[in-house]
């Protein structure tokens, strides 16, 4: 488990899970992106961002997540999200993000589908 201030990672059998903690603003968004790029460099093509520890995001933070989605599309990989608050999930739908990055209710559901 690698840890930085807001973001931790667990490598679970082909899928790397990124856990966020707290407010995802620009700094925290960039931290998630840094961690994601490291995992991509390690060869991971399936990333799951578990937002269970996050109850607020702002649109600047989310914009940075879009950069990660773009990157995953480029490498023909997959990015998914799980454990969103209803408001964050609604926001992802408002933005149309959900079309490009599936949203799962929890990590178990996400891993079952992503590995399946």
């Amino acid at each position: 488990m690698t840890a930085s201030s807001n973001v931790t990672v667990e490598r679970r059998d082909g899928v790397a899970v990124i856990y966020t903690q707290g407010y995802i603003n620009n700094q925290a968004g960039e931290e998630v992106a840094r961690v994601a790029y490291t995992l991509i460099d390690e060869g991971y093509k399936t990333l799951l961002i578990n937002l269970g520890g996050t109850t607020i995001v702002n649109s600047i933070g989310i914009s940075i997540l879009i950069v990660i989605i773009e990157k995953m599309i480029e490498i023909d990989g997959r990015l998914a999200f799980c454990s969103l608050t209803p408001t964050i999930e609604k926001t992802f739908h408002i933005m149309g993000l959900a079309q490009y990055a599936p949203i799962y209710s929890d990590e178990t559901a996400a891993l079952a589908t992503l590995r399946g």
């Binding site: 407010y23 603003n25 109850t55 607020i56 995001v57 702002n58 649109s59 600047i60 989310i62 914009s63 940075i64 879009i66 950069v67 989605i69 773009e70 599309i73 608050t85 209803p86 408001t87 609604k90 926001t91 408002i94 933005m95 149309g96 993000l97 079309q99 490009y100």
Partner: protein, 145 residues
């Protein structure tokens, strides 16, 4: 306003500085809780407040570096609606000429930003923007339920 009156009015003045949007969102939460808005709706208000504050912080270029917010609890006799005004005295903008953000395009575009107003409109029940040379005022409302 079909017989609606302002039952309570709270004003908050914030500096345009990192994380101050979080303080604003907590004041909004407190007023929304006071009027017994449901937790999911409160959370939506909270996010809209964060976006509206960040817009003023980032884009207004106001010289006083202050945002003034008003929280009005509106209703006939019981709280029915929370009306939030976010005002800056900055350079203003023309909301009409803004391009609606679109995820397909944003995925290719270098600029991924530009979602704030769309999110605010999606989360609140109604949103009005008044903007000009003397600054920007966003008025957004959410019914109690």
């Amino acid at each position: 306003m079909n017989g609606l009156a302002t039952l309570r009015e709270v004003t908050l003045t914030l500096p345009m500085a990192p994380d101050m949007e979080v303080a604003a969102s907590k004041t909004a939460t407190a007023i929304a809780e006071y009027m017994k808005m449901s937790p999911d709706r409160i959370d939506e208000v909270r996010m809209a407040v964060i976006e509206a504050c960040i817009n003023a912080f980032e884009h207004s270029h106001s010289s006083d570096r202050q945002v003034t917010m008003t929280f009005e609890v509106v209703g006939k006799t019981e709280p029915e609606e929370l009306r939030i005004t976010v005002k800056d005295t900055g350079i203003g903008f023309d909301p009409e000429t803004l391009e609606e953000p679109n995820i397909e395009r944003k995925l290719r575009d270098d600029r991924k930003r530009g979602w704030g107003l769309k999110i605010i409109r999606g989360l609140m029940d109604s949103v009005e923007i008044h903007s000009g040379d003397d600054g920007t005022t966003v008025i957004m409302s959410k019914r109690r339920r």
